[in-house]
Symmetry: C2
DNA sequence: CCCTCCCTTATTGCATGCAATCAATCTAAA
DNA sequence: TTTAGATTGATTGCATGCAATAAGGGAGGG
């Protein structure tokens, strides 16, 4: 559990404004966790992080509590915070919720999305296809996430956006694996074109089914990559 | 915003164990908020609460962060924590999510509930009918909440249980209003009998539709009670 | 060789102190 | 009278110190 992992982030966060320290640490830590930079099962040492970030333990510990609420870390009394280790079943559980939420969102989005929202999603789709053609997986992945969140947002249900975003973050790392397979990647791009078209034509039920199939197919591939169990460290 | 509200809870929490203080304060505060004892829009004063509870500000502030994540309070820098004020639209948004989640849960529960789980729900249902006959609204309400959560739990999807529980808490206070109308109350009890029957017979789709109708009917009544806008204080 | 107990050290949980910020009141000039 | 500015008190954000606990390691007995 190398201290060297934290070496990189020396001064980069100095001077976070008063009143937002815990928020910023939370976002920072969440990124490290969902990107997999801090691996599942790893204990997060308070002292090392506070020294590297140049903040005190108080806002860091507040961040732990927030991330615990999001299901990203687990805090045991006197044993600190560890990154939660999700089993394939946990991921599948979350994915089932996400699909359910997107189903709700899809029908509402088809009804309520403004032309501007649809246009914004269309632009993201264009950028995503470009990223695909350049074979920039990371870019592609982020734009992809963004599109799905924007479709949800188009439903204009704040609770839905909040829950979806939080649940989505939990399993982001695992869904990334779904794009490793190149054939699947190309297929996903094609599906997105259909999804956009259904949204444009405001075909709610179709949109719902397309999204459902899209996720299931992605997960089928991602699951394979996860069959290799993570190290128990 | 009387300090007297907190008068009651002097010594009752003394001696909360190390390592669980913030958890306990969180639960305690959540109860006060979802029950409406701390009204929406009210600012929560740290000093008063810490003095009454006999704890320091640190675990209390951690509780604020957790509750903010749950959408129950809002923290503004240098202006402390205030109980969020939900509009009828916010409640309806959350309710739509809850209905969606219960739909997922219903079908899974019908497939996966163990006989023990169903039996437990049946016992709760009996107790709920008794509470109805004794006209004990508060008891009834709590058992009712418990039944819905247990149905969800029977789906054996941890993410679902977590999200449902959190989202349910957010709008608990508002759903309470749905039972004020006596005709509706009796109707709700009858619907619960059908719901239990569908679960026993493992009729997933039927269970789903019964729950959906149950919630919609409850909300229709509750909504009336909320048309009277809350004081803007 | 292994197991148990004790001790040391690292780390956590929480209380508290200090500085920054906000809010309310007062003063003075227009 | 009104309003801009200053001032003081209350409250928050964060850093830090101390006590409690856990984790690790060695000594001693089996």
């Amino acid at each position: 559990m190398g201290e060297d992992r934290w070496q990189a982030l020396s001064e980069e966060v100095a001077g976070w404004p008063r009143g937002q320290r815990s928020t910023f640490v939370t976002n920072f830590l969440r990124d490290l966790i969902v990107s997999g930079e801090i691996p599942p099962g790893e204990r997060i040492n308070e002292r090392i992080l506070t020294e590297r970030l140049g903040i005190s333990r108080t806002p860091l510990r507040e961040a732990f509590k927030i991330l615990e609420g999001e299901g990203l870390v687990s805090i045991r009394p006197n044993a600190g915070a560890t990154v939660v280790r999700l089993s394939p079943e946990d991921v599948e559980d979350s994915l089932e919720i996400l699909i359910g939420l997107e189903s709700i969102g899809a029908e509402r989005a088809a009804e309520r999305a403004t032309p501007e929202m649809i246009e914004e999603i269309a632009e993201l789709d264009t950028r995503m296809v470009e990223a695909f053609e350049r074979r920039e997986l990371m870019d592609y992945f982020h734009i992809n996430q963004d599109i799905h969140q924007k479709i949800i947002d188009a439903a204009q249900n704040e609770a839905l956006s909040r829950v979806y975003s939080s649940e989505s973050a939990r399993i982001r790392r695992f869904r990334f694996a779904g794009n490793r397979d190149h054939a699947r990647w190309a297929q996903a791009v094609a599906e997105h074109a259909q999804i956009l078209e259904a949204l444009r034509r405001r075909q709610g039920p179709l949109l719902r089914e397309l999204l459902r199939a899209h996720h299931r197919a992605g997960w089928k591939i991602a699951r394979k990559a996860l069959e290799t169990p993570e190290p128990t460290d």
